[in-house]
């Protein structure tokens, strides 16, 4: 399955980089993770802030879906979250921006090794998949609520 256009561009960028460049780009994305949080005055359709066993610290995922059904994600990360997870937060916030909730649900996870590179994908780095799981989770809740709302209206 094809990746969303914005995510595909990010993947293509990483694939064009040597390993050292990949690391630098990941650090740069990790540095921008704090800027992926909610802005002053923003409101959301759904907010999901929790500490799961799979991740080393609290992660908050905030979703706003426009009338045109375009998703916008905001993510907050606790200080103990690992660098790769921070990087993936920025990458996914940008890469999935504007997708429909169904489009978010359809994003395959197999792009992660293409971005991170085989050298950095380890058993203990599996939390890089965690942010995508959380984004899909909140999109699914939104879809369920939409479905329930439509059923109630009929």
């Amino acid at each position: 399955m094809a990746y969303p256009e914005k995510l595909e561009k990010i993947i293509a960028l990483f694939e064009s980089l040597p390993d050292s460049g990949k690391r630098e780009a990941l650090i740069s994305y990790a540095d921008s993770a704090p800027r992926q949080g909610p802005r002053e005055g923003e409101t959301f359709d759904l907010e999901d802030v929790r500490k799961d066993e799979e991740c080393t610290d609290t992660v908050g995922v905030f979703l706003k879906v426009s009338p045109e059904r375009h998703c916008q994600f905001r993510v907050t990360l606790g200080p103990q979250v690992q660098t790769l997870t921070k990087a993936m937060t920025s990458i996914l916030s940008k890469g999935l921006d504007g997708l429909s909730p169904e489009g978010v649900m359809d994003v395959p996870a197999d792009f992660v090794p293409r971005i991170v590179g085989a050298d950095l994908v380890r058993q203990r780095s599996q939390t890089v998949y965690y942010i995508l799981t959380r984004m899909k989770g909140i999109a699914k809740v939104w879809l369920n609520r939409e479905r329930a709302g439509k059923a109630a209206a009929n």
């Binding site: 690391r23 630098e24 990941l26 650090i27 990790a30 540095d31 066993e53 799979e54 991740c55 080393t56 690992q82 660098t83 790769l84 990087a87 050298d119 950095l120 380890r122 058993q123 203990r124 780095s125 599996q126 939390t127």
Partner: protein, 286 residues
């Protein structure tokens, strides 16, 4: 570190000591982390990065690099046989202790740990840099052998240790020890089929040895934990294990350097080997 009554206080240095020795040509700082990219986000000036897996382990067989490869690794980082290597890292120095233990496998004895690790350095608002240091290659004479028999335990040795009723310390979380879970909280399952512990092992989670700020507890406190409560006797032959050998390296460091036990071995195959091994005896509960 004399004030804490450690057996080998010289093996532990403070953040202040490190700050005062940044330009010491006889000292090399080594950062070893679980977070693969943490060093790249900033590290202590002059520190080199040694990764537990890509640098210290063989990339095919589950084992460590050869003495020649170790000598090459040290040479590249400007470490000679006489260099004092000071380790620090994330996770309360898990991987720093693991790297130190690996250096000892190759006979490098001039080793120290920065008490409190990276977290303490950061908490004290000390300087971090992203500048990666490049050192002139040092001359490092490769050891003739690895010192596995002295500080490393293999499966068969651990099994014999268990059958003989000798001291075994399981440093994993209580839930892992009891066999309720096969991974520690917040971590993925690392491929273990059975839960529980090695028969006869005492449960002393690694974290018992550290304070809230990741510094090690005093020798008196450590003796109470390992001897009064867990039943170790001074000078006893001890095998420590966890899941892949990093948390037990931390405990190996505590017993060897802080309490002065002379016969402590780290079973680095740990639970990912024991819990998968056909026919390995397992105890649950406790």
């Amino acid at each position: 570190m004399n004030d804490k009554n450690y057996a080998h206080p010289e093996a532990l240095v403070s953040t202040e000591w490190v700050a005062e020795h940044l330009a010491d040509p006889g000292v090399r700082l080594v950062e070893s982390n679980e977070d693969i990219l943490l060093y790249d986000t900033g590290h202590i000036q002059g520190a080199v990065h040694i990764d537990w897996r890509s640098d210290l382990q063989d990339q095919t067989v589950r084992d460590y690099i050869t003495p020649a490869q170790f000598a090459d690794l040290c040479s590249r980082h400007g470490i000679s046989n006489d260099t004092t290597v000071v380790f620090y890292g994330d996770k309360s120095n898990w991987w720093a202790c693991y790297a130190l233990w690996a250096f000892r496998l190759f006979g490098h004895t001039k080793v120290k740990v920065m008490d409190g690790g990276r977290d303490k350095w950061v908490a004290e608002n000390r300087h971090l840099t992203r500048a990666v240091p490049h050192f002139v290659h040092a001359k490092y004479t490769a050891p003739e052998r690895r010192f596995d028999p002295e500080i490393r335990a293999f499966f068969e040795q651990t099994l014999a240790h268990s059958r003989d009723g000798k001291a075994l310390i399981d440093v994993r979380s209580p839930g892992e020890f009891r066999g309720e879970v096969t991974h520690m909280p917040e971590y993925p399952q690392e491929g273990v089929l059975r839960g529980g512990h090695v028969p006869g092992a005492a449960s002393v989670p690694w974290k018992m040895a550290v304070n809230e700020d990741s510094t090690f507890k005093s020798a008196d406190e450590l003796r109470r934990i390992y001897e009064t409560e867990a039943g170790l006797k001074p000078g006893e032959d001890v095998v420590a294990y966890c899941r892949i050998g990093e948390r037990s390296s931390h405990t190996w460091f505590v017993l060897t350097y802080l309490l002065g036990y002379k016969n402590v071995r780290n079973y680095d195959g740990s639970w990912t080997e024991w819990g998968n091994r056909v026919g390995a005896p397992i105890e649950k509960g406790g």
